[in-house]
Every structure is written in C-alpha cells, then in structure tokens.
Assembly symmetry: C2
Homo-oligomer: 327 residues x 2
C-alpha cells in the first residue's frame, strides 16, 4: 500500500493568468481530483508570482491529500510567447514579464519537473485530448476572453511555427480601418469580438446615452461587468445587448471562415469566458456566418463546436502537457 | 547511346489555366529544356480540354526532340479543388468542371503516369524546390493573378488540410463590408488586391471621370489591359495608378501579416502576374505594412520575398510533383 501510494502517478496543471492562478491535480486518466485558486499579483514581480504559483500547486496537491512525491510533473500555460523547449517565458505583457526562466525557477522551488507552453496552446491541447473522441488530424482552438488567442493542432500535434508564435488568431485583421486594438493596429479580430472589445463598446455607448438593463444591474459606471451579466441582460430582453453580442458572433463567424479557408481543419473549437457564458446566444450565429463566408466545398464534414471545459481548459491542458513530457 | 536516350529521365509540368495551357519539359535536375503553350478553350468541355492538354504535352516533348518513352511522368496544376490522391478535379469554376477524372482520362490518352494538384499548391512546390536554397520547415506561397490563391508547406511538406482545400488565402476576409468578391462575399483579400479587383476599380474610376495615361495607352474602354500596363503607367508618372497599386500592396501586406500571425512560417513568397509585373512598385510596401501589422516578436527571422519564377512557377511545380510521385 505504502509503495503504491508513493508511485508518481499524478499530474498538476496550472493556468497562469494576469489576474489569477488556477491549479488542478489530475490522475493520468485526466480525471480532476482537486483544484486551488489564487490571485496572481503581477506587481510583485516574476519572483513573487513564481512563489505564488508554487504555493497554489502545494495547496492543490494538499487539497487532494497527496504529496509532491506522488506527482510526476507540472504543466503550465503562460499568457504570452513561450519557448516551450527551454521553459522560458519570452514575453508576457499581462504579467510584465520578459525572459523569465519559469521552468527552472519553479523547479528549484518545488523539486518537480515543470513544463511550460503558451496558454492558448495548452487549452487547445486540453480540449484535443479530453473533448474529442476520435482525434482529428487538424484542429483549431479559438479562445474569446479579455483578449483572443488560438492554438493549432496539425498532423495530430501542437503546431507552433518558426518563432513558436503560431495561432495568434486574435490579431488577424478582419476589418481594415476598424476599431483600435490593444496591439496598436486597427480592425483585429480581438478588437471587435473579445470581452475587452465588447465591454468597451457597451461602456462607450452607455456614456453616449444608450439605455440598457446593465446599468440597473451594475450601476451607471458598469463596474465589475462580467460576461455572465451580458447573458442575463439578453435573457431579460435587452435588445441592445443582444445586438452587440450578435455582432461579435458574426465577426467570430468570419474569423472561423478565414481559418477554415486558410488551414482547413477538421474541427474548430471555440472556448474562453465569452463562449462559456454566451454559447447559446452566439454559437448558431457563428456557425451560420462561417458557412456563409467559407469557399464552396471547403466546409464539408468540418465540425465547429463550443468547448465544455470552461475555466478548466487551461489546467486540463497543463496536465496533458505534463503527461506528454514525462512519458 | 540508344539505351541511355530511352531512359525515362525527363519530367513534364503542365499549368492548366482558364485561358491557357502551358507545358514544360524538365530534366530531373529541374532545368527546363523546352515549352509549349496553347489556349484552353474551356467551352469545348472537359473532353476537349483534355485533348488539348495531351496535344500541348506532345508539342513540348517534340520541341525538345524527345519521345514519350523518355518521360517519367506528367504533373499538372489545375485551378480549383483537386483530390490529389485520385487525380480528380472536384470543382474548377474557371473551367466549368465538376468531378473530372483528369488523371485517368489523360493517362488513357498519353500512356504516361499523370499526377494532379491544385495550381497554387503546385506553384508553392515549384518555388520551394527551386528558389529556396535552405529548405525552411514552413513556407506560405501567395499568388496575385486574376484571382488570389495560396499554398502552404508545413513541416517540409505540402499541407492540404481536411478537405484538401487549405491555402485559400484569397478568400480570407480582411475588410468586413468591403468590395464584392467573385465568391459572393465582401471584403475578401482577392476582392481588394487581385488583378481582377485592380482592373475593375480602374475601369469604374475611369467611367466616373478619373484621368489616367492608361486611356491614352489602351483607349477609353481600357480593353486588353495587362498588369504590365500598370507598371508602364506608374513609370510615366501616373499618380492615380501609383495610388491604386500602393493600396493593393497595403492590403497584401495586411494579408501577409495575418498569415504570419496565424501560421508563423519561416518564409513567405509572393508570386503571380501582379507581383511579376509590379515587384519594384509593391514589395517594399508589402514588407513595411506586414511588419506594422504582425504581433510583436512574431516576425523575427522571417523572410518575405518575391518569386523570380514568374509564369514558370506552375510548370516547374508540375515537374516537381511528377518527380516526387515517380520516385
């Protein structure tokens, strides 16, 4: 018994975001045994954040009545450009990081093998391994959150490209001269369909006199607005919010069509906070618009679906990465 | 001597277009020995066109003082969706073809092994094999002609996607609500930067009273306008044509940036009649715009270049395909 309980059979997945750190402990079957959540506090610098990651991993393992001796490895998704071979975070603007040796520094702290990937690549991996029964050769993951990111599975493997930055679908321009994007350009997919873009549009419209039940729900400043509030507003019959979300879904459908025209993947999976909260309101429009915009003959047999993993996509993907790399 | 001259060492590449058929005979080193050209006459139907292809191949081989006994195989690029495994053309609107068994029908006629691919895939293959000395793992080919098409080399191989239609970069929407495209949608890359789009814009502007030296060169109807006429007009100081071409180059740069953000290839090669005729006028703008629009960190070490193969890209690529498949 004692021997078997010390077998290194568990995996830890970590979703490192600009606001929060989420850790999950998984069996090698990828069943989740327990979780832990913590604020990121990026203002404390890379060293401080890495201490908090270590702490969050410890808490999750302890929550499951396990010890580090029983853990095979830790897989982390980081928001930015990652050199997955070395485990370094090259550039992560949300964290204020440049050239942080996340793998080495965290391994030094917790004494477990650590593996690092871009967060959207990790989510794509997690969805591919746990949500798709027959593994397609090609899959595109698109994640609509504060920003928009993506990940590509090609030939059954995570595809990263020459500089390991492939899958930056959020900065595909779909409306030349359109709204300003955080990247400095105009008309990026992220600038018209991310949570940030949607919230900014609503806040500007409200300032300009637009009526919406959101101000009754959240106050005139719309402080602490969340994706779920948009769903509630639509279900209360708010036609303005409904139109805003329809527009975002149409843009998303056009982006999906672009990716099908370019990459022609067997499966496109949509995820992220916006899709999790507004799946019922958005998916039918996304699908219909994508069909309208793809080239004749390119869509046959292709599936466009919403991920059911919600916030768990990152930690599941982290566990998949750790399992892959410790084989 | 007699024996060696009957060795099957030569390859034939065919570029099948809506207007013309071009055949070339190549050594296995891909040096071109001779060419033949013929109008396509798609109105004669698939059977008639296939007879013309056979005739064009015969002429090219005869031009080189060779016989079919010395030819290893024929590789053809067809404009449309192609099932490269079976050699069938699924759908080729420029030819009016649906489900044409080009491989079998042509093999029956000429008694040589025939291999078929999409024309832009073929051009991409030709450029990859003959113009790039150190083979990149990933390359994107973009061809600006009457329409706009593309091809992808990923992991060192031609990438075709789930329905074999990957690389349809011309129908990537880059300007939601923009000019109408031949595909029925609006704002496709092809609708703002192809020869068709450029000619349509100039013709409409001239009808609306725009002055340009093109009317002096070609008459008021601008009949038989060619890409080279635009170059001549710009070199004669026509600021209007210069601006039209600058705009097309900017759109092309944005499309290149989108593809770098999504696929992150090591090399992007531009080709097609528009680039061949207007390389000096367009490439610097394309490069500058692409750099403006890519995500920070994604462009490092990536090369964006113009193909020097011109009209030969298709026949060279056909020879590459025939060489690959007869190995």
């Amino acid at each position: 018994m004692a021997e078997s309980s010390e077998k290194k059979e568990y995996l830890v997945g970590v979703d490192l975001g600009g606001t929060k750190i989420l850790s999950g402990v998984f069996k090698s079957s990828l069943a989740c045994l327990g979780r832990s959540k913590m604020s990121t506090k990026p203002q404390r610098g890379a060293k401080g954040v890495i201490e908090r990651i270590a702490h969050c991993v410890e808490d999750a393992v302890d929550e499951c009545d396990l010890t580090f001796k029983q853990v095979r490895g830790v897989g982390i998704g980081a928001p930015g450009a990652v050199d997955s071979d070395s485990g370094k975070v090259i550039f992560a603007p949300n964290l204020g990081w440049e050239d942080v040796d996340l793998k080495k520094d965290l391994e030094d702290k917790i004494g477990l093998p650590v593996f690092v990937e871009n967060d959207c690549n990790i989510c794509t991996l997690g969805i591919y391994e746990t949500e798709l029964e027959t593994k397609p050769r090609q899959m595109v993951g698109i994640f609509l959150g504060t920003g928009i990111g993506g990940g590509l599975i090609l030939d059954g493997k995570l595809y990263c490209g020459f500089n390991r930055t492939a899958g930056e679908v959020g900065h595909m321009v779909i409306e030349v001269g359109g709204p300003k994007c955080s990247c400095g350009n105009r008309g990026c997919f992220e600038a018209v369909a991310s949570r940030g873009a949607i919230f900014r549009k609503i806040q500007n419209d409200v300032k300009a006199g637009q009526k919406t039940v959101l101000t009754e729900m959240l106050g005139p400043g719309l402080d602490d607005m969340r994706s779920g509030d948009l769903r509630k507003a639509i279900r209360q019959g708010d036609k303005y919010v409904e139109k805003v979300i329809e527009d975002a879904a149409e843009y998303t459908g056009i982006a999906v069509a672009n990716l099908i025209n370019i990459i022609n993947p067997q499966v496109v999976v949509l995820g992220g906070g916006i899709i999790t909260a507004l799946e019922d309101e958005m998916m039918a429009i996304i699908l219909e618009t994508a069909k309208d915009y793809v080239m004749a003959g390119t869509f046959k047999g292709i599936e466009v679906m919403a991920s059911k993993l919600g916030d768990d996509a990152g930690i599941v993907g982290g566990a998949v990465l750790a399992r892959m790399r410790t084989k």
